[in-house]
């Protein structure tokens, strides 16, 4: 075996330029596979995280049929048992009850239709980024009544500011008219301009009174400790809850458009990676096959001298393992620090750029970031190694199946 290792190692360096090019191509491919995967995972994690932070969390508990209708008719409860259950679940980072309803806001002659969101001022920060997005005044506070926070553009359209009063009008759960004067205590800057023109927040207590909703809520938004475990968390929570009263939905069900974008983007990325891996396979195949063909006579000689055919197979295979292995190591050494750097130092996209606007549309911070999961380099390395071994199969078989006389006949 030591003889085979020595032969393989010396042969790899017989043509340093060709070896260098193959190693460089493999390293580049490894770098690209790891970086592209990390970028995709990082960017989508960020987009999902930011989006769910603006919406209904990684997992949403609702009454049956809420996602289809989204009216006050579909409701659930956040009772003490559910609070205890969610607080004890290690996969839950935070949760907050909400009431969603349509309403009209008016001030003087201006009237706007808005989404009224009743939130728990104490719990909301554990789920969403809304409390951090206050641009003027302050966020809602517990214990204070009839306060309202408006999207910045909504406030501008209505011509109101902090301290002003607005009339809120809607239809209560009891189907009676509901109206009340609220005092504007703050404005929010939101990434999506449409949302900024149409969102108004009131406290959950006020919402329950305003809509005559008792202790009902539209949804309980849950922030998962690990965004990628949302599906699992929803299944786990759903299994232990009364299906007549409450359903658990992962964010993919609440925001199907975003989920579909992730799937489509990842499909495109996997296709690109497959092409890349194929290119590497051809590179290694070409190098090994050329190396085998130009040594046809040499293989005949060592066969004649008594080297068993299986040893020749192993020598050729070892050569491809060396090539792929060195390429892999260099690729890993380049990719991992680069990805970790980008993970720690996201690159902000400039204001006004088209791509930045696209990020803002889904409520995500416009930055380029990456996320390195342990499975990424492990899986990428295994994939490149398997591909290299498959690519070397034909040349290795060809080399080992030669007969000594085939190469000596020409002498």
């Amino acid at each position: 075996m030591r003889l085979e290792w020595r032969l393989a190692w010396r042969n790899v360096w017989r043509n340093p330029r060709r070896t260098g090019l193959t190693v460089a191509a493999t390293s580049f491919a490894v770098f690209l596979v790891i970086a592209a995967t990390a970028l995709s995972v990082g960017m989508w994690d960020k987009i999902i995280d930011d989006s769910v932070g603006m919406a209904s969390g990684h997992v949403t508990l609702t009454g049956p049929g809420y996602l289809e209708e989204r009216t006050l008719e579909q409701f659930t409860y956040l009772d003490d048992a559910l609070v205890a259950r969610l607080s004890a679940d290690p996969g839950v980072a935070g949760f907050a009850p909400r009431i969603n309803a349509f309403g009209l806001l008016s001030e003087a002659d201006a009237t706007r239709g808005v989404m009224l969101l009743g939130v728990d001022p104490l719990r909301e920060a554990s789920v969403s980024t809304l409390p951090e997005r206050v641009r003027s005044g302050r966020f809602l506070e517990a214990g204070r009544e009839w306060e309202i926070v408006l999207g910045k553009r909504l406030a501008q359209v209505l011509g109101v500011g902090v301290g002003d009063a607005v009339l809120v009008y809607s239809v209560a759960y009891s189907l009676e008219s509901a109206y009340e004067i609220f005092r504007v205590v703050g404005t929010l800057g939101l990434p999506d301009p449409t949302l900024e023109r149409g969102l108004a927040l009131i406290s959950l207590d006020d919402a329950q009174r305003f809509f005559v909703y008792g202790d009902r809520v539209s949804e309980v938004a849950i922030r998962a400790r690990d965004a990628s475990e949302a599906g699992e968390l929803a299944r786990g929570l759903g299994a232990g809850l009364d299906a007549e009263r409450v359903e658990a939905h992962p964010w993919q069900e609440v925001m199907p458009d975003l989920a579909q974008s992730v799937v489509l983007d990842q499909a495109g990325m996997y296709m690109m990676l497959a092409i890349l891996v194929l290119v590497v396979a051809f590179g290694i195949f070409n190098t090994i096959l050329m190396a085998v063909l130009e040594r046809k006579r040499e293989f005949g000689v060592v066969l004649a001298l008594g080297l068993p055919p299986r040893s020749i197979f192993r020598v050729v295979y070892l050569e491809s393992i060396f090539l792929a292995g060195v390429g892999l190591l260099v690729g890993l050494m380049l990719a991992i620090p680069a990805v970790l750097y980008l993970q720690a130092n996201p690159i902000p996209l400039g204001d006004g750029e088209e791509i930045a606007a696209a990020f803002e549309m889904v409520g995500a911070e416009p930055v380029i970031t990456a996320k390195l999961q342990a499975s990424n380099p492990v899986f990428s390395s295994l994939m490149i190694l398997v591909v290299a071994l498959l690519a070397a199969l034909y040349p290795a078989l060809r080399a080992s199946r030669g007969k000594p006389v085939d190469v000596l006949r020409s002498l």
Partner: protein
């Protein structure tokens, strides 16, 4: 007792449906300790016969025996082992392994035989001295002259302590002075170690030193000459 035997050996090559008879019912016995040569013009079948006797190819008809063992009965792996233990080869184009040094080329077959590293090194140095290449063990083949490479090839052929060395046109690429020195060396090894040498050559330098010349023509044995050339 014959160390090598060809009994009614024939070899037919087929290229694009056209059959070419390279050897036709050849009978030959090479005795242990011989210093013999297969001679004849190009296309007479001498290299084909050498390949068959060296277990590098299988005959189309007849049988080849090495040290009494019928080669047709052996698997490719067993043939490899047989070549390793009993045969040594010297080729026209030297065919040293270019990525190995001269000493490593000589040690190659010993390593395959499982000889220890220290013993290999000792024997390689002795063989290098025997072929008058002391101090050149670390040189790679491409750093050596043709004559030096062929002497390394002879040392490699001897390294496995074979019963027979088959040499295919060993002097074809050498100048006459180098060729004579190489042949004298081989004759010495034959005398001192009792190694059987069978050449395939039409070089007069080889033929005049062979103690038996087997002349081939059109795939068959034309005549056999015994004794030194007058």
């Amino acid at each position: 007792m014959a160390i090598l035997e060809a009994i009614g050996v024939g070899k037919v090559y087929e290229t694009r449906g056209v059959e070419t008879v390279a050897l036709d019912a050849v009978d030959l016995a090479v005795e242990e300790g011989e210093f013999a040569a297969l001679a004849g013009p190009s296309g007479s079948g001498k290299t084909t016969l050498l390949n068959l006797l060296g277990a590098l190819d299988a005959p189309s008809s007849g049988e080849v025996r090495l040290d009494g063992e019928k080669l047709a009965d052996l698997s490719p792996a067993a043939l490899s082992e047989l070549r390793l233990r009993k045969l040594g080869f010297v080729f026209q184009a030297y065919n040293l392994i270019p990525v190995f040094s001269a000493a490593e080329n000589i040690e190659f077959v010993m390593e395959l035989q499982g000889v220890s590293a220290a013993e290999r090194r000792k024997r390689a140095e002795a063989l290098l001295a025997e072929v008058e290449l002391e101090g050149l063990g670390e040189k790679r083949p491409l750093e050596m002259s043709g004559g030096q490479q062929q002497r390394v090839a002879v040392a490699r052929a001897l390294a496995s302590r074979p019963r027979v060395i088959l040499a295919d046109e060993p002097t074809a690429n050498l100048d006459s002075k180098t060729a004579i020195r190489l042949l004298e060396l081989m004759a010495e090894l034959n005398r001192n170690h009792g190694v059987t040498f069978l050449f395939s050559s039409h070089d007069p330098l080889v033929l005049e030193r062979a103690r038996r010349r087997i002349w081939l023509r059109d795939g068959g044995i034309d005549r056999i000459e015994e004794g030194a050339v007058a």
